[in-house]
């Protein structure tokens, strides 16, 4: 079974702070995704990648950067965190791109920006 891990699981920072969320998948999946989950909005795609060094913009990218350093590792960066970025963040991976491919999600990181 696909394994996706995230760290940290909880993070508290202040407005203007610098935050890095980490994600690792161990099943050699090509695609990785970052989502945020907020009540009333469901899951929204921030960024995604189809391989090391690649980055694609999602639906809500403002205020976020991301970097895929290896096939396994995908990072989400908030360089000037704002309270509006308080949310539950999920990383996911899939073997390929397209509707027929299941996405495997990590356990999530709860970020609070004070």
């Amino acid at each position: 079974e696909a394994a996706v891990t995230q760290s940290p699981r909880n993070k508290v920072t202040v407005t203007g702070g610098n935050v890095t969320l980490s994600c690792r998948q161990t099943n050699s999946h090509n695609y990785m995704y970052w989502y945020r989950q907020d009540t009333g909005h469901g899951l929204r795609l921030i960024h995604y990648s189809y391989g090391a060094g690649n980055l694609q913009i999602g639906d809500v990218p403002d205020g976020y950067k991301a970097t895929r350093t290896t096939q396994e590792d995908f990072f989400l960066l908030l360089e000037l965190a704002s309270p509006s970025q308080t949310s539950l963040y999920f990383c996911a991976s899939s073997v390929n791109w397209g509707l027929s491919y299941e996405q495997y999600f990590g356990p999530g990181t709860r970020l609070t920006v004070l």
């Binding site: 469901g42 899951l43 999530g108």
Partner: protein, 113 residues
């Protein structure tokens, strides 16, 4: 229904009852994903249904897909307490040739003993 401007829905039922959750979408699609999210965990795929299937079963779960009405449903037969979770549908615009999933707002299902 999970799509559009609807708020997150909540359903509360007794153990042993049947329940159906609905999902309507606005784009042309041929595949709908149904995910389940348990408290404190990430979503996990429970059923993937394609347009040529119309209905798909997995244990006590049954999903339907009607592309003409752009809707899908997920039914649980004889619900159990462990079915308590949030259920999401997700799909993408097949006509736009994108695999980028768009998730519905979800349905909170609570099954009481």
């Amino acid at each position: 229904s999970q799509w559009g401007e609807e708020n997150l829905q909540a359903l509360s039922i007794q153990e042993g009852e049947d329940v159906t959750m609905n999902c309507s979408y606005k784009t042309y699609t041929t595949v709908v994903h149904w995910y389940r999210q348990d408290s404190g965990r990430g979503p996990a795929l429970i059923i993937l249904i394609r347009s040529n299937e119309r209905e798909k079963r997995s244990g006590r779960l049954r999903a339907t897909l009607d592309t003409s009405s752009q809707s899908s449903s997920l039914s649980i037969t004889a619900a159990q307490c462990e079915d308590t979770a949030v259920y999401f549908c997700a799909t993408a615009n097949t006509g736009a040739n994108t695999g980028k999933l768009t998730f519905g707002h979800g349905t909170i299902l609570r099954v009481h003993p």
